[in-house]
Amino acid sequence: MTARNGPPTRAEVCAVALAECFRGNGEILANPIGTLPTIGGRLAKATFEPALVMTDGEALLVENILPVGVEAPEKVVAGYNPYRTMFDVVWSGRRHIIMGASQIDAHGNQNFAFIGDPMKPTAQLLGMRGAPGNTINDRTSYWIPNHSTRVMVPEVSVVSGVGYDRADALGPYPSRYHEIVRVVTNLCVCDFDTPDHAMQLRSLHPGVTVDDVVAATGFPLAVPSDVPQTRLPTDDELHWIRAVIDPLGLGEQEVPNP
């Protein structure tokens, strides 16, 4: 556990952007999947969103802020949440998940099931997992650590996570619980706050240009005339990340500093 100094890294900017996904969520289960989403979720709970309920990554709900990648010194256990109970949480609308994506399109359709022919895929990936149920029942955000035209595609091979065009086609009543809050990448933050729910650029991480993002995106991304910079971590947030949540610097392994 070496103390880190210096300006915020790209990974730390991403962690804050991921934390921001949960702003205003209050007392829901914040369920970030993966290293930087977990750092971001725990950062949100430690700072501006203390009512968030979070797991230890397994079957327990814990109230203290756990580190990633190292054995927790102690767990303040305040709940039992095995997989079967997680479905109760999800289907009752009390969760916000941050999932990954092997592919995602302009309307937020997400694929991590497989690529190619269903009978003989060119790439078998994870499978549907819980993506169909997560997206039709609850708020969802996505984390893309490798923003590129391979991931940000015109059309996904399989829709595992439901995007806005699919949800809108179902009609307002069947899709009333569907909401994709953010897509956070290693380059930028995107949202769907457009008239047709097409993905738009919301902010650029420091050092990234609009052209960088457009070149790395395989579909026409809506770009407002004035795109702000992604918010930088505060000193307090940097302390939480460096001293408590990510003492090993695993975030920088996931997103190296440019």
Binding site: R84, P121, T122, P132
Partner: protein, 283 residues
Amino acid sequence: MPVPDKRVTIDDIVATVQDGMTVGIGGWGSRRKPMALVRALLRSPVRNLTIVSYGGPDVGLLCRAGKVRKVVYSFVSLDSIALEPHFRNARQSGAVESVELDEGMFLLGLQAAAWRVPFLPTRVGLGSDVLRLNPALATVKSPYADGEELVAMPALELDVALIHMHRGDRGGTGQCLGVDPYFDDLFCMAAHKRFMSVEKLVDTDTFLEEGPPQTIRINRLMTDGVVETPHGAHFTECVPDFPRDEEFQKEYAATAKSDDAWDAFRAKYLDVSEAEYQTAVSR
């Protein structure tokens, strides 16, 4: 104590699994899988199975050994190795069919079978490609004022369920000492024949020395046979008895790279008895 004796051998269990059957396997990913029973299936001549599993190396091994026609799954993962390489190879070569389900639909399918109803309604699947990839999946309209259209997840009936518990008695009661019981009770209740392997067979009156009543997840209404297979979940995790054998899992995963590597692995670890397997892996 008036407890029936439902002890069986691994061979008895495997003999009930016939070509073409639908077999449900408990556990989750690379966690608390009935691996001794899976290894016995690998040694048997059975073929054309439909495997229903929250998939881990059970699915990969059975696919690689040519036992599988179809996999009903929502994921197949080794946890510390995200994608199961043998399952990937089997899918990418077109060797096995798949039924793509959301993991919650999977739960509802088992629950419907357990409750003996033809389907359970759910919002899950709407808007996703689950419906496109499973043309047989139907929707159902609510008969009430809301009129909402929902997915009718059909019962996932199993011919045989195979699960692994930490402790069990000769009557077929099973105790889960790990923090997450997963869905093993549902697998049993969804199946016609239900078999449980256990790390350790114990006397019924000692269960409560190991854990509180709620750890006794499997009552004997749910099982037809029980067998003691010490270290039987290896190489998947079976905490608190033992963690996943990550080194062995890496060795297993690496055999997806070449037929020679698989053949050597198979000769050393799979074309041998369970006792010889356990000797080979006790390093």
